[in-house]
């Protein structure tokens, strides 16, 4: 892995959560790459063997993911891998960087040709490379402490299954002891010399590990299986002593973090989860001590000039504008209002035609005899129609009803006044019935002659 300048975005965010298992990271980019350098050191050929560019590591992760997720029979071509990386990121991948890294991956056997012959362009991923990325994940989450847990767990596993001989047990115990001793020495150094934030970062990596339980369980297994074996007893005791030393320095680290962090009121001493756990589970007396010497003001609203003038400038009163609900879609049901209007128009038209028929083109006509001949109730219908036309101001008709009363007991129309129909030059004006038509009522009223004049 060639050197390249450390590449971070302008916002200072960690690039692509490199080394993150499930996207969660407890170490910074710098710490992760430092851990990687220490991790690779046993097999490195020079000090520049490990890149200092987090983008390089992210590209390796993306390439591995493409091979794992988009694998096809016969492998993938370089172009297909590039397209897969671009699709995963959602933006175009740096072509030059991709070409350079893919060439290196091929040289270091991370990607292997599908067929071992010249000029073939399809590749597969070496499983060892993917395993290496998983190790990087663990270095990114807990800085390598997980390796200690894995070592202890593996030692217990082989002992429980009886798949290891005495020499193998001794080797396992020694490996665990050495790792614990190194961690203990590192913690001792950090407690004595490291700045608070560095100590806090290191201390967090050792959280949530039951190393003490694992060591004691391993010790019991050794004692049970290899009874009265002084050498193994000695190795197991050495492991316990190493664990005690490790735990002692870890507690010293915690004490220093709490003392210095507490005095400086640095709330980053605890993680949000720890605050929540304390709030739920801690005793009331302990919680009441929190902030005992911290002075606070009552939580009054903060007033600043900018917010005040912004409220003045931007205020617009809320007006509730009532909007009609949307009209329902056209249904198959007939519109009763429209039907009434059509009927009204048809009736009016019929009356007008009847009146015109009576006038026969003249401007006025005497209708008394017509009414008499129409009988009853015909005369009533004719008269009613004529009265409607007379009362309608939009119709150019007027009906004059005389005061004289004509009585004929023998006729079908016994009582009759002289009736004369006149055509007017123009309608008298808007009809009140027209206005009422919009609400579907007919407000026409027959008007008598004395009222008209």
């Amino acid at each position: 892995m060639a050197d390249a300048p450390l590449n971070a975005d302008s916002a200072g965010t960690r690039l692509g959560q490199v080394g993150a298992l499930n996207g969660r990271r407890n170490v910074s980019d710098e710490q992760l790459l430092s851990n990687l350098r220490a991790f690779i050191a046993p097999v490195a050929t020079n000090a520049g063997a490990v890149t200092s560019d987090a983008e390089v590591l992210r590209l390796a992760r993306d390439v591995s993911a493409v091979f794992a997720d988009d694998s096809q029979p016969g492998g993938l071509t370089k172009a297909e891998v590039y397209a897969g990386v671009t699709a995963r990121r959602g933006i175009q991948c740096d072509q030059g960087l991709f070409e350079a890294r893919f060439t290196l991956f091929e040289a270091l056997n991370l990607v292997q040709p599908y067929l071992a012959k010249k000029h073939q362009d399809r590749y597969v991923l070496n499983p060892a490379g993917l395993a290496g990325l998983l190790v990087v994940d663990r270095l990114g989450v807990h800085g390598g402490v997980d390796e200690l847990m894995l070592l202890l767990d593996r030692a217990r596993w082989v002992l429980e299954r009886g798949t290891v001989d005495r020499a193998g047990v001794i080797e396992h115990l020694q490996s665990c002891r050495r790792l614990l001793s190194v961690y203990a020495a590192n913690l001792e150094r950090l407690v004595e010399t490291a700045p608070l934030h560095e100590l806090m970062a290191e201390q967090r990596q050792h959280e949530h590990h039951d190393i003490e339980g694992q060591v004691h369980a391993l010790n019991r297994l050794v004692t049970d299986r290899f009874l009265a074996d002084p050498e193994l007893d000695d190795k197991a005791m050495g492991l316990i002593e190493a664990e005690q030393r490790y735990r002692r320095h870890l507690m010293a680290a915690v004490e220093r973090v709490l003392d210095e962090g507490g005095n400086s009121l640095d709330f980053n001493v605890l993680s949000p989860e720890e605050y929540l756990t304390a709030a739920i589970n801690a005793p009331l007396d302990a919680l009441s001590e929190v902030g005992r010497h911290v002075v606070v003001d009552p939580p009054m609203p903060w007033t600043d000039a900018g917010a005040l003038f912004e409220a003045i400038e931007s205020y617009a009163p809320r007006r509730r504008i009532r909007q009609r609900p949307p009209e329902p879609p056209d249904a198959d049901e007939p519109d009763p209002i429209a039907l009434l209007r059509r009927q009204h128009d048809a009736e009016l038209k019929r009356r007008r035609l009847a009146a015109e028929n009576s006038l026969q083109g003249a401007d006025e006509v005497e209708l008394t005899s017509q009414l008499s001949l129409a009988g009853w109730p015909g005369a009533a219908r004719i008269l009613a129609d004529l009265l409607v036309l007379h009362s309608s101001r939009e119709q150019p008709f007027a009906l004059d009803v005389g005061e004289m009363l004509l009585i004929d007991p023998e006729a079908s129309v016994t009582y009759l006044h002289p009736v004369r129909l006149r055509r007017l030059d123009q309608p008298r004006g808007p009809d009140s019935a027209e206005a009422a038509r919009t609400v579907g009522t007919n407000t026409e009223h027959p008007a008598y002659e004395d009222e008209r004049r």
Binding site: V295, M300, P301, A305, A307, A311, I312, P317
Partner: protein, 217 residues
């Protein structure tokens, strides 16, 4: 040590705690020595003890709150926080109508731009309601702000039928006052002062005129 038996430093701490808890504390509860010690302690924390006139009680069983010289906790020069600039923490803020009510109170009380806004002129609640009704603010919301939100924050204090700027207005940071002064003309103002119908300087219940001199001690 003094007649109460408590060390002066301890009394100064109690005084500062009392001011924080009450919003404003009567000046007469603390001796000059205790006040000096409290000022010194406040300065260490970037605060300062500001004199004002506020409706406070001198003793717990004393008479109803009357305007008297009082103490409120303000910010030392250059030490006021600016949560509007620093997005690292959230603070509670007024709603739009509460802010408008406060702006209207400022506009009615702070007539002379060149002078300090506090103590300002007394004003009536209905003037605030009328002023904001012109811009469409519902009167119920304005009254709620005048009767509850602004007095609770110490920005407005009631003196009978009149209102005045409260002790929190006396403790406004200088930078806030300067910003308000710069845009003083944008504060809601009534059209002409003739219709306000109140004399300048409404007398306090103790008979002294409300003026900046009352705030000095």
């Amino acid at each position: 040590m003094n007649s109460s038996g408590m060390p002066t430093q301890r009394q100064a701490a109690v005084l500062l705690a009392r001011i924080r808890a009450e919003g404003a504390t009567a000046r007469e509860v603390a001796s000059t020595a205790v006040l000096a010690a409290a000022e010194q302690a406040a300065a260490h924390a970037g605060r300062q003890v500001v004199g004002c006139v506020a409706p406070v009680k001198a003793v717990p069983a004393g008479p109803s709150r009357a305007f008297r010289p009082a103490l409120v906790l303000g910010w030392a020069d250059g030490m006021a926080p600016s949560p509007e600039d620093d997005l690292g923490y959230q603070v509670r803020r007024f709603s739009t109508t509460q802010a408008l009510a406060w702006a209207a109170c400022l506009g009615l009380a702070w007539i002379d731009r060149s002078a300090s806004p506090y103590p300002g002129e007394p004003f009536r609640g209905e003037d605030v309601v009328d002023l904001l009704a012109d811009v469409g603010v519902p009167s119920t919301w304005v009254k709620a702000a005048l009767n509850h939100d602004l007095p609770l924050a110490g920005l407005v204090a009631s003196e009978g039928e009149w209102l005045r700027l409260g002790p929190a207005a006396a403790a406004l940071p200088d930078v806030t006052v300067e910003a308000l002064r710069r845009f003083h003309d944008r504060l809601p103002h009534p059209v002409g002062l003739a219709g306000r119908g109140h004399p300048t300087g409404v007398p306090h219940s103790n008979g002294t005129r409300a003026s900046e001199e009352d705030a000095e001690w």
